[in-house]
């Protein structure tokens, strides 16, 4: 498994470019393209050395920079006669400024997030209801299952399945596993499935157990990996 090195400046090609512009203290309206392009390529080489796999978008930017650089080297007088020539950098500058604007907006959102996270409201009361409700949208449901199906390549399955596991057996299996452990991670539950059929059965078993209130689904870390818990007796 490739390990991820995530440096602030590496979040995207524009981030890196803005970072370099600030670091070199150059004017965003008059970027010394040759210098910045050189620095940029230096960082890309470093990323290659670190074996980072996010290089695609950075390469696109590098080629844009090189293109601008070469256009800047063209003798301009001849072109200028025909029409008011545009600075080859202007499109890039526009993009950078726009991106910077959203970075600022993101920053104010982060401040609001910070402020709001310190305010606590009344918790949701556990109102007994005849029908269990879930905080899930249609999208949630489809993606959860989509994820599951995607992780297992369909090739594993042939027409002949060595054994068939029923819904009841799967329900029992999940419950049994929860006897010895407090929780099982959602993804792990599916990783161990041998066939697509078993994946589906596992998913259905889980839904069934949730419906019967025998297990609970939680995200221990807010928005994190989903875990399946034994429901309190």
């Amino acid at each position: 498994m490739a390990y991820h090195v995530k440096l602030e400046a590496y979040e995207g090609p524009l981030d890196l470019l803005l970072y370099l512009i600030k670091k070199e203290e150059v004017d965003i309206w008059d970027i010394p393209i040759a210098q910045i392009a050189g620095e940029y390529l230096g960082y890309i080489n470093m990323m290659k050395l670190l074996d980072l796999d996010v290089i695609g978008e950075f390469l696109v930017m590098a080629s844009t920079l090189m293109k601008i650089k070469s256009r800047m080297l063209l003798p301009q007088e001849e072109e200028a006669i025909e029409e008011e020539i545009e600075d080859p950098r202007s499109e890039l500058i526009e993009q950078l400024l726009e991106y910077e604007m959203y970075k600022e907006r993101a920053k104010t959102l982060a401040e609001k997030e910070e402020a709001q996270s310190k305010l606590f409201a009344r918790p949701e009361a556990e109102i007994p209801s005849s029908q269990p409700t879930f905080e899930a949208s249609l999208f949630d449901l489809l993606t959860a299952f989509r994820n599951v199906l995607k992780e297992k390549a369909p090739e594993i399955v042939r027409e002949i399945e060595p054994f068939k596991i029923t819904l009841e057996e799967k329900v029992e299996e999940i419950l049994k596993r929860l006897e010895s452990k407090e929780k099982i991670s959602f993804s792990l539950l599916f990783k161990e499935c041998l066939s697509k059929g078993e994946l589906i059965v596992t998913f259905l078993a889980l839904l069934e157990l949730i419906k019967q209130k025998r297990v609970r689904i939680r995200q221990p870390k807010l928005f994190g990996e989903i875990a399946v818990y034994r429901a309190p007796a």
Binding site: F120, A121, T133, S137, L138, T143, R146, L167, S187, F223
Partner: protein
């Protein structure tokens, strides 16, 4: 810490909790507080709430909890009753089946979900999220189901073609554990 401050903290703690908080638990949070002054604070707070007409602090199951008073129950029940209900998972799943495969008959839904869906279908019909489109021309002439305009409204869609396709959903689903990485603990960021 001064007494008044402790009282304010305890009140805030009781407010954010939907289960009774024991003195022990409160003492843990208010590290280093002595038992007697905590109890006095709780007593004082409780007396203050006794003056209130709508709220009270009660000792329940070895802890303290804020409740609304009996007289206010009708309004609170009404608030919860009129609360927009969320659809159950079974309902959502069945709805998805109907929306993506309509017109569809019950056995087709059941062959995927693996459980009896007559109850769910009934609920969905009642809520006017699905409707009967007609009968399928096979043996037994089973009912055909489809989604309604209310379904589209519920999910904020203009028409059925606006439903994301499975392909699009697949595109949106990130590889591996990317989702986890999107969220960083705040400490890492600082």
């Amino acid at each position: 810490m001064e007494r008044e401050k402790i009282k304010l903290i305890v009140e805030a703690l009781l407010f954010t909790s939907h289960e009774p908080l024991s003195e022990k638990r409160l003492a843990e949070v208010l590290e280093g507080i002595d038992k007697k002054s905590l109890r006095n604070t709780l007593e004082e707070l409780r007396r203050e709430y006794q003056e209130k007409e709508n709220l009270e602090i009660r000792e329940v199951a070895g802890g303290y909890q804020i409740f609304t008073r009996q007289d206010y129950a009708p309004w609170i029940e009404k608030l919860h009753r009129t609360r927009p209900t969320r659809l159950s998972r079974a309902a959502l799943e069945t709805l998805a089946m109907v929306a993506y495969n309509q017109p569809v008959i019950r056995v087709e839904i059941e062959s995927v979900r693996g459980v009896d869906t007559s109850g769910v279908l009934h609920t969905l019909l009642e809520k006017n999220l699905i409707k009967i489109l007609g009968r399928k021309k096979v043996i037994g002439r089973p009912l055909l189901y489809g989604v309604t305009d209310d379904f589209l409204k519920y999910f904020g869609l203009k028409d059925i073609n606006e439903l994301p396709s499975l392909k699009e959903i697949r595109e949106l689903v990130p590889e591996k554990e990317e989702t986890d990485e999107e969220v960083k603990e705040s400490e890492e960021e600082n």
